[in-house]
Amino acid sequence: MNDMEQSEIEFRRRVKEQLDAGISGLDEAALARLRAAREQALAIARAKQRITDNRQPFRLGFAMAAMLVAVMTWRLLPTHWSGSPPGDMTDDLEMLIAEDEVDFYADMEFLIWLEQQDHAS
């Protein structure tokens, strides 16, 4: 480190020291305003976090529904494909996509098993 860099660091240190001293004596009114502003910001952040948190199950539900549709399509197409989508399969897919119950999509393993049973019979 050369003398110029050393001198710059020292200058910055002294400036910082002076500025820190300047804010250490802030009056109570200003500090109260800052505290109030912080509390208000935190209240907004809490509300925002709750909204985000409540959306998580829906996001998970949509993701699982999309996976289910992909799996069902993949499993159904080789056996039933005959040039155009059969009516019953399209109906099934529409029904699955339209379904809003998150729990329904959540039990994907059971649905796959059920579908396998249907094919076996």
Partner: protein
């Protein structure tokens, strides 16, 4: 500066969504508590009025909480100062617009109409507070006020707030080259202005 401590808080966060929410809010509280005084002083040096500076800091805090609370805590400082800088620019635009309107009114009604600024509530710091500021760092504060606004703000963000070049560029909405240039010019000017002040320049 604050980033290390915020980082420690993040790693110390307990598992589970409830705990995560609490941690994020705790982190934000810690972050805002760390920067609130410095940001007030930075805004105050820019707009030269305590009340307006308080408003700008408050608006910036609210916007950060509303828009960016889910961003990683390490990104909050440049984001917060970017918001604050944008608020400062808006403040200057409003002042310029107000000046044009009052100028036009004065021209229209003549000097007899009096200065409409007298009708506006005086929000500048009172004499006691002004004295307090002046006594704390008179020469430095004066030198900082004499810098062009962008140089002043870049210098404060770099030298006082501890943002790096990249973070300062994000905050100031400019390139890293401009940050380096502004910082260097500010540094040179300050050293020239303060060369007679031992408490800052360290001359014996």
């Amino acid at each position: 500066m604050y980033a290390t401590t915020v980082g420690v808080l993040i790693h110390a966060g307990a598992a589970g969504s409830g705990a995560t929410i609490l941690d994020k809010i705790t982190q934000l509280n810690f972050f805002l508590a760390q920067i609130e005084r410095r940001s007030l002083r930075i805004a105050e040096l820019a707009v030269r009025q305590r009340e307006d500076a308080l408003d700008l800091v408050q608006e910036s805090m609210l916007k950060l909480a509303e828009k960016y609370v889910n961003k990683p805590a390490e990104q909050w400082a440049p984001l917060f100062y970017r918001i604050l800088q944008s608020k400062i620019r808006d403040w200057y635009r409003r002042q310029a617009a107000r000046g044009r309107i009052f100028g036009a009114l004065k021209e229209y009604f003549g000097d007899d109409a009096g200065d409409p600024l007298h009708l506006v509530e005086d929000t500048s710091p009172g004499p006691v507070r002004r004295l307090e500021i002046e006594q704390a760092t008179p020469a430095l504060a004066e030198a900082l006020r004499r810098l062009p606004l962008r140089q002043q703000q870049v210098f404060l963000l770099r030298a006082w707030e501890g943002l790096d070049v990249q973070q300062t560029a994000i905050a100031m909405k400019c390139g890293t080259g401009s940050v380096k240039t502004h910082y260097h010019r500010a540094l040179q000017t300050l050293r020239e202005l303060l060369q007679d002040h031992r408490e800052v320049c360290g001359h014996e």
